[in-house]
């Protein structure tokens, strides 16, 4: 635990990776110590044997023929994608093209919407997350989400971070203290708030609030982080801070980020998927998408001809 912590601190002090150090960091990626022995991550304890055949704590995302309807509206059309572990994948595309909707299928946030129907296969680590045996609570623990607008709870900074651990039954003060400190350090917020953990989180600036929300997600020890336009409500400096953070976090987490900002996609993502009218038009390495797009529509979008 301790060595892990100091490693995290070391990572924080590193500047956003240039090409070399980025690939170096990727080279010696160690699997993060896994608290719930990831194998049965999303399953109810009853169906452990069924889950055991799936890989040892892998968290890649596979989607096959995903269709999603809101009532009569066909929001996602036959979407297929493979998202690798420990990579940053960006979803770009004009407003209302289904990027956020697609993102929300990965932690089943669409369950909250009444007339939303999803068909097709969505697997995380080889497990169908829409299967009956899936424990949505565990799924959401493993797949954290950052929203467009920072949404800290109107309680203390400490209680915000401790929310998820407490949900999963951690009550011991020393353990919680440790999680709070580790999560805040990971999110690069510790230095700024360590002396006012008991202050209400609503008193923080927008950028701090968003990093608090990231820390709050990290406290649940997720494997995947979904970010839904996390910087669209922030100023350029806070945006830069969050982008640095994404670069640091990707060594240990799989990150999927929806963004309207194409420069942002080129700065932080390894792969990019271009969405249009509920379909993925093109998906590939970010540099390929932006330098030599194969589809005319992608080219038109990234050169600013529409959108």
């Amino acid at each position: 635990m301790d060595s892990n912590k100091s490693a995290n601190v070391a990572m924080l002090n590193r500047k956003p990776a240039d090409e070399n150090s980025k690939s170096a960091a990727k080279g010696n990626t160690k699997p993060k110590p896994d608290v719930n022995a990831g194998k049965t991550a999303f399953k109810n304890s009853g169906s452990q044997t069924a889950a055991n055949k799936s890989s040892g704590g892998k968290f890649n995302i596979t989607v096959r023929n995903c269709n999603l309807h809101y009532g009569d509206f066909h929001a996602l059309k036959d979407v297929n994608i493979d998202i690798e572990e420990n990579e940053v994948t960006a979803f770009i595309g004009p407003s209302g093209c289904g990027k956020s909707t697609f993102l929300k299928t990965f932690n089943r946030m669409n369950d909250l919407i009444e007339d939303c129907k999803i068909t097709g296969l969505i697997e995380i680590g080889g497990q169908d997350i829409y299967a009956k045996s899936t424990d949505v609570t565990m799924l959401r623990k493993n797949v954290g989400m950052i929203f467009q607008k920072p949404n800290p709870f109107p309680m203390s900074i400490y209680d915000n971070i401790a929310f998820a651990p407490r949900t999963f039954g951690i009550k011991k003060k020393s353990t919680l203290d440790e999680i709070v400190e580790r999560s805040l350090k990971l999110a690069g917020l510790w230095e700024e708030v360590s002396d006012r953990l008991n202050k209400n989180a609503m008193g923080m600036s927008g950028g701090q609030q968003q990093r608090l929300c990231i820390a709050r997600s990290l406290a649940a020890e997720p494997k995947i982080l979904l970010m839904d336009e996390p910087t669209s409500a922030l100023d350029p400096i806070s945006t830069g801070t969050i982008e640095e953070l994404v670069n640091i976090l990707k060594t240990n987490y799989t990150i999927v980020i929806v963004t309207h900002n194409m420069q942002q996609a080129t700065r932080i993502s390894d792969k990019t998927a271009f969405f249009l009218l509920g379909e993925i038009v093109e998906y590939g390495k970010t540099e390929d998408i932006f330098l030599k797009p194969t589809d005319k529509r992608t080219e038109n979008y990234i050169t600013g001809r529409f959108g």
Binding site: N107, M109, L112, E114, T137, M138, L139, R140, K141, G144, M145, F147, K149, P150, N151, P152, F153, P154, M155, F163, A164, T167, F168, N200, M202, G203, G206, C213, R216, S217, A220
Partner: protein
Amino acid sequence: MKKNAHQRQIFKYSALKVISFVMVGLSLLALLAVISFILIRGVPYVNMQLLFGDYENEPSIKPALIGTAYLVLVAIGIAAPIGIGSAVFLTEYTNSKSRLIRVIRIATETLAGIPSIVYGIFGYLIFVVALGFKYSLIGGGITLAIMILPVIVRSTEESLLAVPRSLREGSFALGASKVRTIFNVVLPCAASGIVTSLILAIGRVISESAVLILTIGMVVHKIPEGFASPGTSLALDVYYFGSHGYPEQAAATGVVLLVLVMAINILATFLGKVFGKGELANG
């Protein structure tokens, strides 16, 4: 020609301003007249005998103070949990567009609009006659609870709906269950509104008289022995003193009632501010 039209506009504008100013003045005057009249007539008669003395030769409102306390206890004790529970069900567990919700909403609004004397006759027929409670504080308290229930449901619902959806989503996204989300995120955020609505409901209980005339017996001279015994309330004492030849005491009791209700309203505003500090200032 054009200029004329413009001048007419200006005239209309200033005339309206003057008229509305006069109207505001009149309504303020009415309010001031009531308050100052009651204070002038009543304050000289507010004394220890009236407040805490025994009701023997001189009238006292001690039985009414105790009776009122019993009524508040019963009415809020019953209406608060049921009202808050219903509001949570309505906002968190049902689709706001469903027919059930619309029916319930119409029902609560109708309930809120029923004249209180109708609640009174209901309480009389059910508790005093049918259930054989005779005149009792508990019967009156339960009737009051039914009367304030729709008010509590409605205002609690408003406070719950004011909690941003993003907070619920944030909680769910962290793996929290619905129950945990409601108890640890939604209800704490809505606390100020809920507390305010409960305090205002207490105000309604204290100032209610029509219901109680028919249900608690208006026994002004005896301290109630418990929930089952008959009693009186402050508002009833005003009526009793006024109609039995003690106009000064009636005014004095009015002063007590006025001060109490005003204190409650100030407390409600104050608590709303304290709880609400920075709470939902999500920007």
